[in-house]
């Protein structure tokens, strides 16, 4: 039996199609990473699994139960770390975990669960005074109550510092070890790479790829990046000639004495031959394996390459917005669902993001 099965699922809100004809199967015991830029429909998909929203079309099955009709049965065996949630300000951390224990009707020691996520010392403080990272840990504690068969984690490390994110990863791996299926969404690639068996990439409500990371690398046409060291600055017309070669995705200058070429593996020799034929002296060349970042961008950017080229400025603005949003969880959801195709376009900035969040969310009570 598969843990999660989406079959031709579409979800339309008044003016937006958040998820479009999505079919996806996650097997039992798998760690599945759900990737996509903000606004791609990740949260909507997770909301469909939990019956927070209902599909316009298609069938959603979780742990063998219909997600709509038998939602309680689904949630009895599922631990959830939702996105854009908040805690009950007036209740203590312990009271939150007790609420989870009561709701799931299981025997568990609140103290032990809180210790596992590292906030046992704050158990008797009102959660309204918790930092964002602590709130995140508290929700994880509630999710872990009752040894769920399936963990659904929506942007689990948002608000956590690197150490916290690492602990989160370790908990996820420990749960998977126990046989739990883990389904988690993220726009931060390192996490996915570190723990996932398979990933799915969502873009503007559509699933553009599902595979293991190796599989994605192999399938992607930007599977290699070639760095060519040249004797002198290369003319623009030579660049465009190389760009026109079959199998070449993009060519950029890397300083004055080097080029960076994204291309199919079998196009490498052609690139070098072409350069030499045009009188460029190639002194050295190296091949680098495409990073997951490149893969991600290749999948999520593809349509935009055609649509808009001069949109760099705009993208920068949106990135800035994203970082603000991470601070305000309540707003996050709206942005996630409404904003269409906000793509994390700048590899450098996206890679920096975990660190940025760290600075903003030091684990001290507000």
């Amino acid at each position: 039996m598969s843990a999660i099965e989406l079959d031709g699922v579409t979800k339309r809100f008044d003016d937006v199609t958040a998820v479009s004809n999505l079919s996806l199967t996650v097997e039992e015991g798998e760690i599945f990473g759900f990737l996509g830029p903000n606004g791609a429909g990740k949260s909507t998909t997770i909301n469909l699994l939990l019956d927070f929203v209902r599909p316009t079309d298609g069938a959603v099955t979780v742990l063998g139960h219909d997600a709509r009709e038998e939602s309680v049965a689904v949630r009895e065996r599922t631990g959830v770390l939702p996105e854009g949630f908040d805690v009950y300000d007036r209740l203590t951390g312990r009271a939150h975990v007790e609420f989870a224990i009561d709701s799931k009707d299981v025997d568990a020691d609140p103290e032990a669960v809180l210790a596992r996520v590292g906030i046992a010392d704050a158990a008797d403080r009102q959660a309204g005074g918790y930092s964002k990272g602590m709130r995140q840990r508290l929700a994880l504690a509630m999710a872990l109550v009752g040894e769920p068969d399936l963990l659904i984690l929506d942007e689990p490390s948002s608000g956590l510092d690197p150490a916290g994110a690492k602990e989160m990863r370790e908990i996820v791996l420990a749960e998977a070890e126990r046989g739990t299926t883990v389904f988690f969404s993220s726009h931060i690639l390192e996490q996915v790479e570190a723990v996932c068996d398979r990933v799915g990439i969502l873009r503007e409500g559509e699933l553009v790829a599902v595979d293991s990371i190796e599989g994605l690398r192999a399938a992607s046409d930007t599977d290699a990046s070639l760095r060519v060291t040249v004797g002198e600055r290369v003319d623009d017309n030579v660049l465009s000639a190389v760009r026109d070669l079959a199998g070449v995705d993009r060519v950029d200058r890397d300083g004055d004495d080097a080029l960076r070429v994204a291309c199919d593996s079998d196009a490498k020799t052609r690139v070098v031959t072409e350069l030499e034929a045009r009188g460029v002296s190639v002194t050295d060349f190296t091949t680098e394996e495409a990073s997951l970042e490149d893969l991600f961008l290749a999948y999520t950017e593809r349509a935009e390459d055609v649509e808009a080229t001069g949109a760099d400025d705009e993208t920068d603005d949106e990135m800035a917005d994203d970082e603000t949003d991470d601070d305000e969880m309540a707003d996050d959801e709206t942005d996630d669902e409404m904003a269409d195709g906000e793509v994390a376009n700048e590899p450098d900035e996206a890679a920096d993001e975990p660190d940025d969040e760290t600075a903003e969310d030091a684990e001290v009570p507000r």
Binding site: F13, N47, L50, D51, F52, V53, R54, S71, V72, A73, R75, E76, T78, V80, P82, G84, F85, D86, V87, Y88, R90, L91, A95, H96, F99, A100, D102, S103, K104, D105, Q126, A139, M142, A143, M329, A330, E333
Partner: protein, 306 residues
């Protein structure tokens, strides 16, 4: 079914709110202070009976005042305030995602909230009645347990009814702001406008009947319709039932009516009380004010995307 878990959570959450502390204090002062003033200072010792305050109905024809009516107004306000944000606030903060990530059905959530929030109102109310009890003993007032205890029970039911009404508005509203406005509007209707509307409807029916040529409605029928509609208002249902526990149904059906209505209704009630004016039927109306709003709210909440 995990509605108990939700109810416990709601209770633990609400019991820590400043609003509840304030309203509990208010009930204690009001329900302790009014009898202390009344029985301790104003009334001579031989007239000290619970009914003289908790069954106090002054009817001046155009304007009537009663102590149960005042208590109902206050309780309605407190109960609505306790519940109208119970879903919209959770939606706005996002805590509803924790609530419904756990294996709580939406029915569990509604019932749990109804119970938890009602418990909070009832606790505040009982603290108040405890203060009353202490004062009654202290002033040597006749307790009239057989009437006073049923009245307390009715008061509890009224509190739960308004919790249910507020909860349903919370389920129906799209935002906390909308829920606030709807609650204020509805309170205004119950507290102020209902009387005029229920007096207007029989006149409108009469006019319509005349226009279509059925002939006019008899005066008795018009008054019956008007008074019946008046008692559909939970505040008035409570008021007349409170009067009944002290004075019996005949007299109780005349409280909050006008002199004109009384003149026509008195002989009717004396002859025999129509079933729709009996205490049991009115009690059913009060219970319907608990069951129907929460059911309507649940229907909307069940269908909604979060």
């Amino acid at each position: 079914m995990s509605w108990q878990a939700v109810a416990r959570k709601e209770f633990r959450d609400a019991i820590r709110s400043r609003w509840l502390h304030g309203s509990t204090l208010f009930f204690a002062l009001f329900l302790g202070g009014a009898p202390a003033l009344f029985f301790g200072l104003l009334i001579p010792a031989d007239l000290r009976q619970v009914s003289n305050l908790f069954g106090f109905f002054a009817d001046l024809g155009v304007f009537s005042f009663s102590f149960p009516g005042l208590l109902a107004l206050i309780l309605g306000f407190v109960a609505l305030s306790t519940s109208y944000g119970s879903i919209t606030e959770e939606r706005e903060t996002g805590s509803i995602k924790l609530l419904l990530s756990l294996p709580n059905s939406r029915l569990d959530a509604m019932l749990g909230k109804l119970l938890g929030r009602s418990a909070v109102v009832v606790v505040a109310l009982l603290v108040g009645f405890f203060a009353t009890f202490v004062v009654l003993l202290g002033t040597g007032t006749g307790l009239q347990i057989g009437s006073f205890v049923p009245q307390i029970a009715l008061t509890v039911l009224l509190g739960v009814a308004f919790v249910s009404i507020g909860l349903s508005l919370s389920a129906l509203a799209d935002s906390n702001r909308e829920a606030t406005l709807a609650t204020m509007g509805l309170y205004l209707v119950f507290a102020v406008l209902w009387g005029s509307v229920s007096e207007g409807i029989p006149k409108l029916l009469n006019y319509t009947a005349e226009q279509v040529g059925i002939g006019s409605l008899s005066e008795v029928l018009r008054v019956k319709i008007g008074v019946f509609l008046k008692y559909l208002n939970p505040l008035k249902t409570y008021e007349t039932l409170s009067a009944q526990v002290y004075y019996g149904p005949e007299q109780a059906r005349l409280v909050t009516t006008t002199f004109g209505e009384q003149a026509i209704l008195t002989p009717v009630l004396r002859e025999s009380i129509p079933f729709y004016f009996t205490g049991w039927f009115l009690l059913l109306i009060l219970l319907a004010w608990i069951a129907i709003p929460v059911a309507v709210g649940y229907r909307a909440f069940e269908q909604a995307d979060l």
